[in-house]
């Protein structure tokens, strides 16, 4: 165990020495990884926030079924009871005309709008919440079908089309992110691989000497793998830092534009686990790049 730790320390020292001796090439590799991850990270940040809004829609999803005028209280209650038996429904709340009026009056500007109106123009309605596990387009479809066949329902409002459109946009952003990520990752791999390969050629004499004094293949090659991984991780940390700074500088400036996309949802930065994923993504890219370089070097 101690021997493994000693060898690991030697390999890490050797990797750091390698980075130091080819500082410019290493710097270019780190910067390339950082730029690639910055772009991928920016896309991911947009997707994460859009997804967050979708999740919130799901949680808050409430369907309002407006009732026809002229229904008696008993008929309204019966309707509410029948709706509550639909398999996807979790809770149904009957809002009388009077309650609807009070609710509207309580909203900002509502009282002013109601001034001058005679009587109560607002219909009674049913506020319907879906069971948490059925808050899906399919669940909504089942409810719509059930409501369609019920006499006494005048209109149903739930913004399903809007949600579906937004979900499509989020999905498009995610797919575009994957495509962009794949292209950038490939370009980054090539650059890291070439940087490591240059390092390998520059240090060929050293590697030969190590082999001559009895160093194993792993001992000779591992520092280069570590070097690539380290470059990737540093690139990831840099990208994360720039994203963090950009996020905190730009979000206050763009709050009105963001409100259009995110509504009342507060934009959020990556959580710790997501940040670690970005850094390990960079490390992974670096590792793959150096593996490719070592394979090409051997051939």
């Amino acid at each position: 165990m101690r021997r493994v730790a000693v060898i690991l320390a030697i390999l890490v020292r050797s990797a750091l020495r390698g980075m130091q001796s080819s500082a410019v090439a290493s710097g270019i590799a780190v910067a390339t990884i950082a730029i690639a991850l910055l772009l991928i990270g920016a896309f991911a940040l947009v997707v994460v926030n859009m997804q967050g809004l979708l999740d919130r829609f799901g949680q808050d999803l409430q369907i309002t079924a407006y009732l026809e005028e002229g229904l008696s209280k008993a008929e309204q209650s019966l309707l509410a009871e029948r709706v509550s038996t639909v398999e996807v429904v979790g809770r149904v709340r009957l809002i009388s005309k009077q309650q609807a009026l009070e609710r509207f009056r309580a909203t900002r500007g509502g009282a002013a709008l109601l001034e001058g109106l005679e009587g109560n123009p607002l219909p009674a309605s049913l506020d319907i919440s879906l069971l948490s596990e059925r808050r899906t387009p399919e669940g909504l479809g089942i409810l719509n079908k059930a409501l369609d066949g019920l006499p006494g329902i005048a209109e149903v409002a739930h913004g399903q089309e809007w949600i579906e459109g937004y979900a499509r946009a989020a999905s498009l952003a995610r797919v575009s992110g994957y495509a962009l990520g794949a292209v950038l990752a490939l370009a980054t791999l090539l650059i890291v691989s070439n940087t490591i390969r240059l390092g390998l050629y520059a240090r060929e004499d050293e590697l030969e000497i190590l082999a001559l004094v009895g160093a194993s293949r792993t001992f000779v090659r591992a520092p280069f793998l570590l070097e690539g991984t380290l470059q990737g991780a540093i690139g990831g940390v840099l990208a994360l830092g720039v994203l963090w700074a950009g996020f905190h500088l730009l979000v206050p400036q763009l709050q009105y534009g963001l409100a259009f996309f995110l509504g009342n949802t507060e934009p959020r930065f990556f959580a710790v686990a997501e940040s670690l994923k970005l850094i390990s993504g960079g490390a992974g890219l670096g590792l793959l790049g150096s593996l490719a370089a070592l394979m090409a070097w051997r051939s």
Binding site: V6, A9, D205, I209, L212, V213, G214, A215, S216, F219
Partner: protein, 223 residues
């Protein structure tokens, strides 16, 4: 070595039908003109080259059939002093000598202590933090010797180890290798230095155009 031949190009033999045996603790000079096959013979012994024909058994391992993955383990038991030193230019003298111990995973503190003792023996302890480029040819050669000896190898192969040294220092280095032999290391030294060969009166193998033409004590002989 049993009937070993080595041809880099088909038909052109660098070594031809060489058979020899070196025991533990034995000190052997390898002589011959340039191109006689001395370096090839040494390279075969630490598996830098494979024989074209014949068998070579080193420390119980058959070089002709040795798997690539087993070569590092063999080399850790064989110290080699190269004619062109093969020092790591960007590392200090201490690191150059210590690399032999690093590859076996020896803790740093132990490495430093062993390297210091070794450098003291070759008279370079005061140069341990210098880089090879700032050393003279003789000093670089002594670093190469220290690196070969610091791991206490069972076999020591040296290709012209005193080529860049003045006579006094040559004797000191030879004494160092001699004492390694007395501790049980089989030492094989390729050299042109007739004075040294005569001084030590040890077994001499003489190669001529890849063939072993002489195998016997050096006493009273000249090249």
């Amino acid at each position: 070595m049993y009937h070993v031949s080595k041809a880099y190009v088909a038909g052109a033999f660098a070594l031809q039908d060489v058979s020899l045996d070196v025991s533990r603790g034995e000190f052997v000079f390898l002589t011959g003109a340039s191109g006689a096959g001395k370096t090839t013979l040494l390279q075969l012994l630490f598996a830098a080259e494979r024989p074209s024909e014949g068998q070579i058994v080193v420390l119980g391992r058959n070089i002709a059939r040795l798997r690539g993955s087993a070569v590092p383990a063999l080399r850790r038991r064989v110290g080699v002093v190269f004619q062109d030193f093969k020092l790591l230019r960007q590392r200090t003298v201490e690191e150059n000598v210590g690399v032999t111990l690093d590859v076996v995973g020896m803790p740093r503190r132990e490495v430093r202590a062993k390297v210091f003792t070794m450098l003291k023996q070759v008279g370079l302890q005061h140069r341990r933090y210098h880089h090879p480029v700032s050393l003279s040819g003789g000093e670089q050669q002594r670093v190469a010797i220290a690196r070969a000896l610091v791991g206490e190898p069972e076999i020591l192969l040296a290709d012209e180890p005193t080529g860049n040294l003045d006579p006094d220092l040559s004797v000191e280095i030879m004494d160092l290798m001699m004492s390694a032999a007395m501790r049980g290391t089989a030492v094989l030294v390729a050299t042109h230095d007739v004075g040294l060969i005569e001084r030590y009166h040890k077994r001499k193998l003489h190669l001529d155009a890849g063939r072993l033409v002489e195998d016997g004590p050096a006493a009273g002989r000249t090249e």
